[in-house]
Amino acid sequence: MTSAAPQSTLTFPRETFEKLSPHPYLLAHLQQASASSPPTRPNGRTPEQFRTPHINNGSLTHAEGSAVVRIGDTTVVCGIRGEILLASNVAGYRVDKSGTAPSTKPGYNEAEELDLLVPNIELATGCSPAFLPGQPPSTLVQSLSTRIYSLLHSSSLVNGADLRIWYQPPDLSDPDRMRDDEEEDTPEPEVKAFWTLYVDILFISLDGNPFDAAWAAVLSALKDVRLPKAYWDPDREMILCDDSVAESKKLQLNGLPIAVTALVFRAKEAAQSKDKRFWILVDPDTFEETLCDESVTVVVDGEKETKILGISKAGGTTVGSGQMRDIMELAAKRSAQLSRILNT
């Protein structure tokens, strides 16, 4: 850090400073705060400032729902395709009468039990020099996919009822018979198949904060999904779908959970820091991600009041309950902003 050694006459341009000693570079930026101006990060944002999201829905032809989400220089494409899982292909699944269906049991999450949501993230699209194709999926990709997967299920975002395909068998009983045992005769509707949603998330460009961007893309694509009307054709013994747009239906999503990630940047030595020892940086870019080892991701749903769907914190020892409260407030603000964009 040049300011720490005033006797030195050696100066570099910004880019060189950034490459040579990234940690002091970021620290120098954050410490420039004065009473009039808040601290700024090298990317020009204040620590509490998020990047503006841009969302575009329905641009893919072959997907039932799709979204392109751009947050700064991070761009994600998410495409959702529906495929059909026959109930007869589910191991140990009894013919599902509406009365005895396992879905009537409390706490039964159909989508989870039958694995009907299949999210996968692909980073090996050349989106960043760190992830090039030709190798097996990296640890980051695997952990991101798993986090999306568990968040989809734990938030029970998708209604199991939307994914069922029902069949009402016709009443074939003899019309001459007396109606003394009619409750046995009227056939109950049964579930013949389920929609399985393949959620494929491709990064076009990666500049930090992959989880928030991927989740926003999944959410926006799920909102865009339009499943055709599917029915069981007893003559052909297969599931057929109807072509008309009017018959198709959208998914009913439970809430609108938004993921918000923040990093904690710490001054390494006590001497370096004047009064402040750490800064909380929201929505980090790649440069900041390489310099911080403590990260907090919260998932909040703030449609009426802010509910917390998940908190995960990794590394570091800085964040206490006070900082957590600050992050929560920031997350609530972000959630309001994003849901406004998602709902338009």
Partner: protein, 317 residues
């Protein structure tokens, strides 16, 4: 063998939805089939933009507009009849080869072409299949001669193309009844041509020295419609718009040197056709010449896009 590093979905296996109209014996061809509304020698509108991936040394995005059937009024869910082509390309490098690599006096070019899982009517897997590898090899051949490789000894450059939306091999109605034999992967030709053009833009964006910017072009001989029964030569064919494609040709073309870096012809024109109708039917040479014409068209777009980027870059600094 399932891929344990990814989330695989239900073990029972799923199938793509089957729409009731797929089962009709005679699909309503007049209403559903997209038709070619452009003249035979006109290309589809092309959108090309560089610099979509700031973290890469160079990148580009290419989109070809989807063809529509003017007669169909209400689009159904099952068959938004054709999709346009959507490609993104990133270039990483040139950068030093790892120490373990043997000495190379020139740059080592690696190409990866991958379809997104949602790129085609049938869902694609995450592992590269043979057609994707084939595209990668063709792309490498087309680009190798263009880059001045001697300027970067001991270095490597990676060119990665993601196909967000691919070209279809045939109109979906044609697959009914006679299985999948008729489709000879004609869509791959347009995809390769797009790959060459978009990679060329990304290489220029990365500032890698080239002898010229290479552009891809496709031409095809298609069986004539009711109006003209003889085979027609068309530029930039959309497979779903034609009932039968006899042959197709793709070139990678360098306009300023009048050189071809990659030439690939599929299908059979045959001499029999030529004897039947000498005036109308095409020879392989004519086919290749038309493909070059198509390449010249995309070259014009390429140059305009690169000029635009250059203007922005100069204006900024």
């Amino acid at each position: 063998m399932t891929d344990r590093r990814r989330i695989n979905g239900p073990s029972g296996g799923t199938s793509a939805p089957i729409f009731s109209k797929y089962l009709a014996k005679t699909p309503n061809e007049l209403l559903e089939r997209p038709t070619r509304s452009r003249p035979n020698n006109a290309l589809r509108k092309m959108f090309l933009k560089t610099g979509v991936t700031p973290s890469a040394s160079g990148s580009a995005y290419l989109e070809l507009e989807a063809s529509k059937n003017p007669k169909s009024t209400a689009p159904g869910l099952s068959s938004p009849s054709t999709s346009g082509l959507k490609l993104t390309c990133t270039v990483h490098g040139p950068r030093p080869l790892p120490k373990s690599a043997p000495f190379s006096p020139h740059i080592i070019l690696t190409t990866h072409v991958k379809y997104a899982p949602f790129a085609t009517r049938k869902r694609r897997g995450y592992l590269r299949d043979s057609s994707e590898r084939d595209l990668g090899v063709h792309l490498e051949t087309a680009l190798r001669g263009v880059i001045i490789g001697d300027r970067w000894p001991k270095s490597g450059v990676e060119i990665i193309i993601t196909i967000l939306e691919g070209e279809e091999d045939q109109w979906w109605g044609d697959g009914i009844g006679h299985g999948n034999t008729a489709a000879a992967e004609w869509g791959m030709m347009s995809v390769l041509s797009g790959c060459i053009t978009v990679a060329s833009a990304a290489i220029a964006d990365a500032g890698i020295d080239c002898v010229d910017v290479v552009a891809g072009g496709v031409a095809a001989v298609v069986k004539g419609s009711a109006k003209g029964p003889s085979p027609n030569l068309v530029l930039d064919p959309v497979p779903s718009e034609h009932k039968e494609i006899i042959a197709a040709c793709i070139v990678g073309y360098l306009p300023s040197r009048d050189e071809i870096t990659d030439l690939w012809v599929k299908g059979d024109i045959g001499h029999g056709n030529q004897n039947e109708d000498t005036a109308q039917s095409a020879s392989y040479e004519e086919l290749a010449d038309s493909a070059v014409q198509a390449a010249l068209g995309s070259h014009r777009v390429l140059i305009a896009a690169l000029k635009e980027t250059a203007d922005v870059k100069i204006g900024r600094s």
